[in-house]
């Protein structure tokens, strides 16, 4: 990165970008802390089809802690300048990311990676054969692309492809919308002869549940929030809805206008939440309000960023008793895995 870019790119994004290029994940987490969620699931590594976990759900708790600090500071005296200087700010307040990971790890396998655990259990029960690269899973680098760091993204894209190929990967089942879009649509632009088949979790589930009886443990009203990248970038609008409609006990209630390709963004797109934390919270509350007005008891979505935002939005609105869950968690409950 040259001097000019350091001046104009919000440092929060530069920090994330540096983490991706140096540590292969968005938070710069030490390698040992990764893939812990899957330790007891005994997933094979050398397989042609892999489950791609991505960063978001693995670091949910860390991201939540960090965002809450950023939000507090954004409203406080440090004010406007701070989110642009997040890396320096972390040092100043003594925020120790590595320490945060250790603390999180000490708590064992908490609920933060639950969507991942549920997703692999669902896939297994549906008879899908797949493995998981665990510590060797590369970072898709999507945030490099959205930060405007194209050269870094291009390099990361080639390394990602090379690493996946070195493990004999042919097919990818990806769960994070941003990773799915990067692996399916962005990385191929930078890799000659890209030949990986990339499917989203919801596509694979829909292909395999046709003859199954799915029943949610209780009668419940559910609404669905479309993540921007899944609906408008990847066009996966009907798949999650067909899955939800196939589950007995679930009544799908939708917003009248802001759904599918017209869904309102949760306010957490492309690193926005790091640069404009307070504004991001306002947008999250606006979206949460639209969803809650459907009368739903559960908001289902498929993106760790959306989940974090919408939970924050509900808190902002002081609404208790509405859950925000990933589709994988819903399907897992309906399949009793």
């Amino acid at each position: 990165m040259n001097r000019k870019s350091k001046e104009l790119i919000p440092p929060g994004l530069v920090y994330i970008a540096d983490s991706i290029t140096s540590k292969h994940n968005i938070l710069g987490a030490p390698k040992a802390s990764r893939a812990k969620w899957a330790k007891d699931l005994n997933l094979p590594k050398e397989t042609t089809t892999i489950f791609f976990a991505g960063c978001g759900y693995q670091y949910t708790r860390e991201l939540e802690s960090l965002m809450s600090l950023i939000q507090k500071a954004d409203k406080g005296v440090i004010g406007a300048e701070m989110p642009m200087r997040i890396a320096a700010f972390q040092k100043k307040l003594g925020v120790d990311l590595a320490g945060m990971y250790l603390k999180t790890l000490a708590k064992g396998n908490g609920t933060d990676a639950q969507p991942l655990r549920d997703a692999v259990k669902v896939l297994s029960k549906l008879g899908v054969e797949f493995g998981y690269l665990a510590d060797d899973e590369p970072c898709c680098g999507g945030l490099l692309h959205y930060s405007g760091l194209q050269a870094e993204f291009a390099q990361n894209a080639q390394e990602t492809y090379k690493r996946l190929k070195s493990f004999g990967v042919k097919r990818i089942i990806s769960i994070i919308p941003s990773c799915t879009h990067a692996l399916r649509n962005l990385i191929p632009d930078y890799v000659e002869g890209y030949d990986l088949e990339v499917k989203h979790f919801s596509e694979v589930v829909l292909e395999n549940i046709q003859s199954r009886e799915l029943r949610f443990p209780r009668e419940v009203k559910v609404t669905y929030h479309d993540p921007c990248q899944l609906s408008r970038y990847l066009g996966l609008i009907e798949e999650p809805r067909q899955i939800l409609r196939a589950i007995k006990g679930i009544e799908l209630v939708e917003t009248d206008w802001t759904k599918g390709e017209w869904a309102t963004c949760c306010g957490g797109g492309g690193g926005f939440e790091v640069v404009f934390p307070e504004l991001s919270q306002i947008l999250a509350a606006n979206r949460a309000k639209e969803l809650v007005e459907t009368g739903a008891q559960i908001i289902v979505t498929q993106c760790p960023g959306c989940i974090m935002q919408l939970k924050g939005g509900l808190k902002e609105l002081k609404i208790d008793g509405v859950e925000v869950l990933d589709l994988a968690q819903i399907v897992a409950m309906a399949m009793e895995v």
Partner: protein
């Protein structure tokens, strides 16, 4: 980072302003309802929008040729036409035509806003009246427009009543009808006393030299019809090859601006003329004796050469994208520069050449892409934003 700091403060002040949010949530609901109704009644608009995209793609590639052709057509119609390479050139041409101490009535023009036309004319000793009601309010508030079609979208009626009370010296109630009548009375005689009327144009047909002016209030008809001189400032991206093309562009524009049909569409191709006395053609019958059109480049041909960012020039200025932007919904035009929301970053960077402002806007955009779903031209703003961030990061 001082531009960013100021910008972020402005943005957050707006986000905490409940009046902006209330005004916008009403506007968004009514925009969506009206547009759905208009598109339902005239479903051919969607197909026509696809045709217009093709027309615009081609026209943007040959803007200079079309500008030349339009100039010839207008001269043939006995108007005067000019090509301004830069914003300063445009201001100088208009400045020379206007001179000093003139009374000017002006229709709303984003292109005029872009180059600070009103301020320029005022600095040169002229009295300028914005005649679009929203723009009139903005001018009197010494504020800046917050939406391309509804510039005073963020000002509630109570504030307008207070403002008009101050101007008239009478205690006015926040009753919309009274306020509209007040503006009408304040501006009525200006049209007929004015030396010059200034407008922009929504689309221009190069083959006939015809300017299309779409409006509902009727102020543009009066401002371009009553004074003895009409000057139009037009961005070169508004040019299309034929009159038939221009009709399509116009219809798609107003439909996505939430109208089935606007009250007025004026087509102006030259000065007013008559041959009713002995068939001798004489100019300046009831309308203006002189008509001047300035086609302005100011970075547009340069922008047209960029394979991704050129999409910004396809924009019809219907304003539909703004109603779909989650950030605009809480901040109005504070998220933007001369033009608003994500696409505004491209204009700030490439037309206004304000890189820091462009970076601030570019990193505000969520890249959520709902604007693209609304856009009749399917302009891919997220794609442009990522490209712009790339250019910024590379220091280009």
């Amino acid at each position: 980072m001082s531009i960013f700091t100021d910008y972020k403060k402005e943005l957050m002040d707006a986000a905490h302003n409940d009046r902006i949010r209330i005004a916008l949530s009403r506007a968004i609901a009514s925009y969506r309802a009206n547009t759905n109704k208009a598109l339902k009644k005239f479903p051919h608009t969607i197909k026509m929008a696809e045709e217009v995209r093709v027309i615009k793609e081609k026209a943007i590639s040959e803007m200079e040729k079309l500008a030349q052709q339009a100039c010839e057509s207008i001269e043939e119609n006995k108007g005067k036409a000019y090509i301004a390479k830069t914003a300063d050139d445009a201001l100088n041409i208009i400045g020379e035509l206007v001179g000093k101490n003139k009374l000017i009535v002006k229709g709303k023009s984003m292109t005029g806003e872009e180059i600070g036309l009103r301020e320029y004319l005022e600095e040169h000793g002229n009295e300028v009246y914005e005649t679009d009601l929203g723009e009139f309010i903005i001018q009197k508030l010494e504020s800046r427009p917050m939406h391309i079609l509804s510039p005073a979208i963020h000002v509630p009626k109570e504030d307008v009543a207070q403002l008009f009370s101050k101007i008239t010296g009478q205690e006015l109630q926040p009753d919309v009808e009274t306020l509209v009548a007040t503006a009408r009375n304040l501006l009525r005689d200006k049209y007929f006393r004015a030396d010059i009327g200034i407008s922009g144009s929504n689309v221009v047909a190069a083959d006939t030299g015809t300017l299309f002016l779409i409006e509902n209030e009727g102020n543009i008809r009066l401002a371009t019809g009553a004074p003895p001189i009409h000057i139009a400032l037009v961005g070169m991206e508004k040019l299309v090859p034929t009159l038939g093309d221009a009709w399509k562009v116009a219809e798609v524009t107003w439909r996505y601006a939430n109208y089935s049909i606007p009250s007025y569409i004026s087509l102006v191709s030259g000065p007013s003329k008559t041959g009713d006395i002995e068939k001798v053609t004489t100019y300046g019958a009831h309308g203006p004796k002189e008509m001047h059109v300035i086609f302005m480049d100011a970075g547009r041909t340069n922008l047209a050469r960029h394979p991704i960012l050129r999409q910004a020039l396809y924009c019809l200025r219907c304003g539909g994208c703004l109603y779909e932007c989650p950030i605009f919904a809480v901040t109005a035009g504070h998220f933007g520069d001369k033009y608003f929301a994500g696409i505004g970053a491209v204009w700030a960077a490439m037309i206004s050449q304000n890189v820091e402002k462009a970076a601030s806007i570019a990193y505000t955009c969520l890249t959520c892409g709902r604007c693209k779903i609304r856009c009749p031209m399917k302009i891919d703003t997220p794609e442009m934003i990522v490209e712009l961030r790339k250019l910024i990061a590379e220091g280009a």
